[in-house]
Amino acid sequence: MPRVFITGLGFITSIGNDSGAVVKSLTELRHGFEVYAPFQMPEIPCKVLGTIKEFFTDSSDPEDWTWPGRYSIKRETIRSMAPNGLFAHCAMLQAIEDAKLGMAEVSSPGTGLYAASGGSPMLTHHHHERLGKVGVMRCSPVGIIASIVGTLNFNLVAAFRIRGASCGFSSACASSAHAIGFAFDEIALGRQERMFVVGAEDGNLDAILPFAGMRTLSLQSDPDIASRPFDTARDGFVGTGGGAVLVLESEREVDRRGVRPYAEVRGWGQASDGYNVAIPQPEGCGLQLAMEHALRHAGVPAAEVDYVSAHATSTLIGDIAEARALRAVFAAAGATPAVSSTKALTGHGLSLAGAMETGFCALGMAHGFTPGSAHLKTIDPECAGLNVIRETLPKAPAVTLKNSSGFGGANVSVVLKKA
């Protein structure tokens, strides 16, 4: 089967707006949380957010937005975007440069783009409010393009003149992991030579606050301890937005272009809980199955995995279910891979999470580190038996397993191997 490699990365995240800054945050375990001004109202119980620095996107009018001057984006490109589109657009520019791709390679029949975002609740709200107020004929002609769930792929495919496969994925917090899996398939099946995989979220009040209604957000007001996966004192996740882009390429393209890949995507698997619309199956049986499928697909025995980048969001039920699934997969093989959740630093990026965290794994494999699980003081006894690493290890894992789970009990696992 053709082999697939990660050859380019781009990041706009709460812990850094380029690979260099992200590596520094991951190795020094610096989080990206701040007390978020729009949350500071008496009726809003959550206070902290993984904020995107250097960007202002809290206005419903894209022409009010600001972003770092190194990215030049035209009005006609920005007008149909959600904030997540802007983040991803900047991450795309980074990834294209990082992968040393020319525009002829970006815009070619052999290059596709799979993307995942939850759309833009802020813009949906704004445009519908305006529709009621001034009538539909005075509404922005591109309001719907900026708002709905496919906004990310619509905008990026047009802006970067993508000519190969394009599609959006909507499995909530597993979305961009699904995008990686199916992008892998496109290349492995010989349909595409190269795929951009994009995850992004607005990560603002409208996108994050509804999760407080589910009682899944941390109510901590101290940014230093709000997100602590696997810890007994964890009380929910901290939301975040941003954009992450991975460039996946066939072995043939890697050889032809003579680029040095970050890591190889060896295989992937998915499975569903068949249990509840929002609550993970308590034993993590869907996630267990997804990991087993991924390892089998990759042809890698469980004992060879030396790092698991957990989905663990710092919620009470979710972290335990994942811990049980991990024990089921690795204890039987007598293996204790290092486990960590980088959501302790970034917060939970929802549709962005899978792509962002797979990107972190690729950085670790190329730069020689294994990201630690920050803010962990006392491990939850329910998560006992896992080798949760509290510090970043100065050694690249040879085989990494990346987990992602979403609403409806969707689970995805991706296997990466050192290139």
Partner: protein
């Protein structure tokens, strides 16, 4: 909720007619709507809303268009040229056109229908359209863009003496391009070893564009068209040549009707290369006459039989089946 539903249609009703008092709230809303436009645009909009005087409208329309054009192309609007094309010259697309229309509707308190938008291709088209709409006048014929095949099929003048490569014609005037190739037969002798486009030929080219205007753009009597065989040169006034034109130069020709009363039509015209004046003609006058619309197509087709297919649908009135 039921109240909200009831109250909405009332707010959405287009403003019917007659000046409405312009309140301070209206001014605040106008300021917000035009916050990314220049100060003169806002001022003109305020004046229009206060007085209803259509003279202020062009400044508003240009200001709104400018606001939606990419900054590096805005200089083109500094010296407003009605022939600037919205798509080709200003880089707008149909979505941007819609944004322009929505803001103009909002600012000028008018409603524009989708089908009215299709024919707006130049800045001049937009200005004329809004102006006619506000004054309650009928809309002029839309600008027609004519490729060489069409020009060849309708013109009584033919190669090697036809000096129009492409043209656009509206009821307000006509524009054309002609590239001096260096292969023109007269350049062999004009001058010896020094090919220079004769000024008399540039005057001829302007005359040809005026002929095209009479055939394609002029408003005629019902059931009549201008007969290609009726048009001849009678005279010109105030002809000045400003620039030597040589092979490789792209001539931009422009004529506007000044007076038209059968059998005489008088135009002003200019030839430019880029922004440089080449020839200015204060007046060029042609004779013309009408023929029955039904008789016209056969003579036009005879001039270039194979070109009939390429004639755009705007020439439908020439079709005997429709006029019959």
């Amino acid at each position: 909720m039921p109240e909200a539903v009831k109250s909405n249609p009332a707010e959405n009703k287009p403003v019917v007619a007659g000046p409405k008092p312009f309140t301070t709230e209206d001014e605040a809303a106008l300021r917000e709507a035009l916050k990314r436009c220049s100060a003169p645009t806002f001022e003109a909009a305020v004046q229009y809303r206060r007085t209803g005087n259509p003279e202020h409208v062009p400044a508003v329309v240009i200001g709104v268009i400018e606001r939606f054009v990419e900054p590096d192309l805005r200089h083109k609007l500094k010296d407003p040229d009605d022939d600037l094309r919205l798509i080709e010259d200003l880089g707008t697309d149909s979505l941007t056109m819609m944004e322009i229309v929505i803001l103009v509707e909002d600012v000028l308190q008018m409603t524009i229908n989708n089908d009215e938008l299709r024919n707006l291709r130049t800045v001049g088209d937009v200005k004329t359209f809004i102006d006619c709409k506000i004054r309650g006048l009928p809309q002029p014929k839309p600008t027609k863009f004519l490729p060489i095949e069409h020009i060849g099929s309708v013109m009584p003048v033919q190669p090697p003496f036809l000096f129009l490569n492409e043209a656009s014609v509206s009821s307000a005037g006509a524009n054309a391009k002609y590239k001096i190739t260096g292969q023109e037969f007269f350049l062999q002798g004009h001058f010896k070893g020094n090919p220079v486009m004769p000024a008399s030929i540039m005057l001829e080219a302007l005359g040809q564009l005026a002929v095209l205007y009479l055939l394609e753009g002029a408003v005629t009597e019902p059931g009549k068209v201008v007969g290609p065989g009726t048009i001849y040169f009678t005279g010109c006034e105030g002809v000045r040549a400003h620039r030597i034109c040589r092979p490789g130069d792209l001539l931009t020709l422009s004529i506007k009707p000044k007076r038209m009363k059968m059998p005489l039509a008088t135009f002003e015209g200019s030839v430019r290369v880029g922004q440089e004046k080449a020839v200015i003609v204060e007046e060029v006058t042609l004779t013309f006459g009408y023929v029955d619309a039904a008789a016209a197509p056969s003579s036009a087709d005879a001039a270039a039989p194979q070109a009939g297919k390429l004639v755009p649908s705007e020439s439908a009135p020439l079709d005997p089946a429709i006029t019959a």
